[in-house]
C-alpha cells in the first residue's frame, strides 16, 4: 500500500486510473485524505465539518462496485469535498453564517446528488466567506482559513476553504460557487485550477443563493483536466432550476487533451494596467508566450467598459442579495433571537445577531439602491452598463476564440491586510467580475510563482457554453508547465 502522502499527491485522473486498475482502493484513498485532513487542517482550517463515517461507508460501497466491474463513472470512489453553500441531506449546512447554524437540510441539491450518483466520496463541508460574500475568507464567524503556501496569507474567497483544501492535498477536488470570482480568485491564490462555467451550465438547485443572475456552481481541482472530469458529472439540464440551460454536454476531458494549434487568443489591453503586480504580469505574459509556442495565435484587443465592472457588480449583486437574504428571519430555519416580544422585533434581532458585518453592509447597500426613488439611478443604470460589458465580449469574440489575462492583480495578500477597507477588498475582483456579468465561462490555471513562493494564476475566458476551448488551453498549459506537481510545505 502506498504511503498516504503519495496517494494524496495524485490528480483525480491518476487516482481514477489506479482505482480502475485496482492498484488502490477507494478506502485507502479516503483514509489517506481523512488522515491528511486530520493532520493539516488544524493549521489550514479549510473544513467546517468532516464526515468520516459517511465518507468511509461511501468508499466501501465504491470498492464493491469497482470489484464487481460496475463502476459508476471515472469519479467512482474519488474523495471530494463541498463548499458549505451546497445543501446536503441531514448534514449541517451553514453557508458560512451563524444564522444557519444547526440547519440540517431535508434534501440534497442537484450538483451534490449528481456527484453521489457518479460514485464520488464526499468527505465534508468547506469554509467560505459568509453567504459567499468576500474575497479573503475572512468574513466568517468560524476559524479563518490560511493559505497553504504561506499560513500568514489569505486563501482568497469566497470559496477559500475549497481552494485551500485542494492545494493542501487534503482532498482531490471540490465544488465551489462563483458570483464575481469566488472560484477563480481563490484557485489563483492557492495555485490550483478552478472553473466558473457558463451561467446555466450547472444547476443551482440546492445551492444557497447570493445573487441569482450571477451565481454559478463549478469545480476546483489541481488540474484543468480534473476540473473537466468534475464538470462532466455535474453539468446538464435540470428542470428544478429555471435558469438551467438545455444544452448538450460535450466530452470535457477529451477537450482538455485537444491542444491549442490554430486557436486565436485575445489579450485585452485593460487587463494589463497599472496596479497589476509586475511579477503577476511577467508570469502571465510568459504563460501566453507558452501558448503561442504551442501554436495558438494572440490578438491584442480592447474591452473598453472593464473599468465599470466593479461598480456595476456591487449594485447588481447587492440588490439581488438583499432580496435573497430576506428569507433569513428566524421562522423556518437556523437561529432565532430569544429576546423578541413581537414578530417584527424577532426579525430585526435575529438578523442583527445572525449576520456578520460584510453581509449587513451588502444588504444595506442593496436595499438602498432598490429603495423608492433610487432604482433608476442605480439598479437600472447598472443593468444598462451590464449590457455594454456584454457587448464588449461579443465584439471581442468576433476576432478570437478565448481571452487570456491575469486572474488577480496580486498574489495572496496577508490576513487582515484589507479587512478595514471594503472598497479595496472589492477591487481584488477587478479581473474576474466581468465574466459573471456577461454570463461567460472562466477558468483559472496556475502559471507560476512569485519570488516569495506565492502561486500566480492565469485566467481564460470563453464564449457561452464553450468550456471546451478553455479546457484545451488550460490542459495544454499544465502539460507544458506541470506546476501541479509542486506541493506547499506546510509547517
Amino acid at each position: 500500500m502506498a504511503a498516504s502522502v503519495e496517494i494524496c499527491a495524485l490528480t483525480i485522473a491518476e487516482l481514477s486510473e489506479r482505482l480502475a486498475r485496482k492498484e488502490l482502493s477507494s478506502e485507502e484513498a479516503t483514509r489517506a485524505s481523512l488522515s491528511r485532513t486530520a493532520e493539516l487542517d488544524p493549521k489550514i482550517h479549510a473544513f467546517l465539518l468532516v464526515d468520516e463515517a459517511g465518507a468511509l461507508a461511501a468508499a466501501k460501497a465504491a470498492d464493491g462496485r469497482r470489484a464487481s466491474g460496475s463502476a459508476l463513472s471515472p469519479l467512482d470512489g474519488v474523495p471530494l469535498a463541498l463548499k458549505d453553500i451546497f445543501v446536503t441531506e441531514g448534514v449541517e449546512t451553514t453557508a458560512g453564517s451563524k444564522i444557519l447554524r444547526g440547519f440540517r437540510p431535508p434534501f440534497d441539491g442537484t450538483a451534490v446528488a449528481r456527484l453521489e450518483a457518479a460514485g464520488a466520496v464526499l468527505t465534508g463541508k468547506l469554509s467560505m466567506d459568509e453567504f459567499a460574500m468576500g474575497s479573503s475568507n475572512e468574513n466568517t464567524p468560524f476559524e479563518k482559513v490560511h493559505n497553504p503556501w504561506d499560513l500568514s496569507r489569505v486563501p482568497g474567497g469566497s470559496s477559500g476553504g475549497s481552494a485551500a483544501a485542494v492545494a493542501a492535498r487534503e482532498v482531490f477536488g471540490s465544488l465551489g460557487t462563483d458570483t464575481g470570482g469566488s472560484i477563480r480568485q481563490p484557485a489563483s491564490l492557492c495555485g490550483i485550477a478552478g472553473l466558473k462555467p457558463t451561467y446555466g451550465r450547472v444547476s443551482r438547485y440546492g445551492v444557497v443563493a447570493f445573487a441569482s443572475s450571477l451565481d454559478q456552481v463549478g469545480p476546483m481541482a489541481r488540474t484543468a483536466e480534473d476540473c473537466a472530469l468534475l464538470l462532466q458529472a455535474i453539468a446538464g439540464h435540470d428542470p428544478l432550476d429555471q435558469t438551467s440551460a438545455d444544452v448538450p454536454v460535450p466530452d470535457y476531458r477529451a477537450a482538455s487533451a485537444r491542444g491549442v494549434k490554430g486557436l486565436r487568443v485575445g489579450v485585452p489591453r485593460e487587463y494589463f494596467v497599472s496596479g497589476l503586480d509586475p511579477e503577476v504580469e511577467a508570469s502571465v505574459r510568459a504563460g501566453i508566450a507558452r501558448l503561442e509556442a504551442l501554436g495558438a495565435k494572440t490578438v491584442e484587443l480592447s474591452l473598453p467598459h472593464t473599468e465599470y465592472a466593479v461598480a456595476t457588480y456591487y449594485i447588481v449583486a447587492t440588490a439581488e442579495a438583499s432580496s435573497n437574504l430576506a428569507r433569513y428571519d428566524g421562522v423556518r430555519y437556523g437561529a432565532r433571537s430569544p429576546d423578541a416580544r413581537s414578530l417584527r422585533e424577532m426579525y430585526l434581532r435575529t438578523r442583527a445577531d445572525g449576520f456578520g458585518p460584510e453581509v449587513k453592509r451588502r444588504i444595506m447597500l442593496g436595499t438602498y439602491v432598490l429603495s423608492a426613488g433610487y432604482y433608476d439611478a442605480y439598479y437600472l443604470k447598472a443593468q444598462k452598463v451590464r449590457t455594454l460589458i456584454r457587448r464588449d465580449f461579443e465584439r471581442a469574440f468576433e476576432s478570437c476564440d478565448a481571452l487570456v489575462g491575469p486572474t488577480t492583480p496580486t498574489p495572496a495578500f496577508r490576513l487582515g491586510e484589507k479587512v478595514d477597507d471594503p472598497l479595496q477588498m472589492y477591487l481584488a475582483d477587478i479581473f474576474t467580475i466581468s465574466c459573471n456579468l456577461a454570463g461567460l465561462p472562466g477558468l483559472s490555471v496556475p502559471c507560476g510563482f512569485s519570488k516569495a513562493g506565492l502561486p500566480i494564476g492565469l485566467q481564460l475566458l470563453g464564449r457561452p457554453f464553450d468550456e471546451e476551448t478553455l479546457f484545451a488551453l488550460g490542459g495544454a498549459l499544465e502539460r507544458e508547465l506541470p506546476l501541479h506537481r509542486q506541493a506547499p510545505t506546510i509547517s
Binding site: P106, F107, Y199, A326, M346, P357, M364, K381, Q383, L437
Partner: protein, 96 residues
Amino acid sequence: MAIQIDRAEVRRVAALAHLALSEDEERRLAGELTSILGYVEKLRALDTEAVPPTSAVAAAVPPREDQVRPSLSAEAATQNAPASLGGAFLVPKIME
C-alpha cells in the same frame, strides 16, 4: 455631486432591510455606504440613454404545464424551524 449618507438615512434603510443596528454600526455604515456609493458614481459618466438593460443572461426557458409531484411533508419542511407545532411554524404573537 457626491452622495452623503447620514445616520438618519442608514436608519431608514435598516428599517426596510429588517436589521437592528447599534449606534456604532450606524456610524460605520454611514461612512462605508458614502464611500461605496461615491465609487459607483463613475457609472454616471456613461451615456446609456439608448442602451437596453440586461436583467438575465440565461436564455428564457419556456414554461411547462403544472404537474402534481411528491414534495416534502409538513413535518420535514418544519424540522429545522426554531419553533414548530404539528407541521406548522410558530412565531411570536402578531396581534394582541
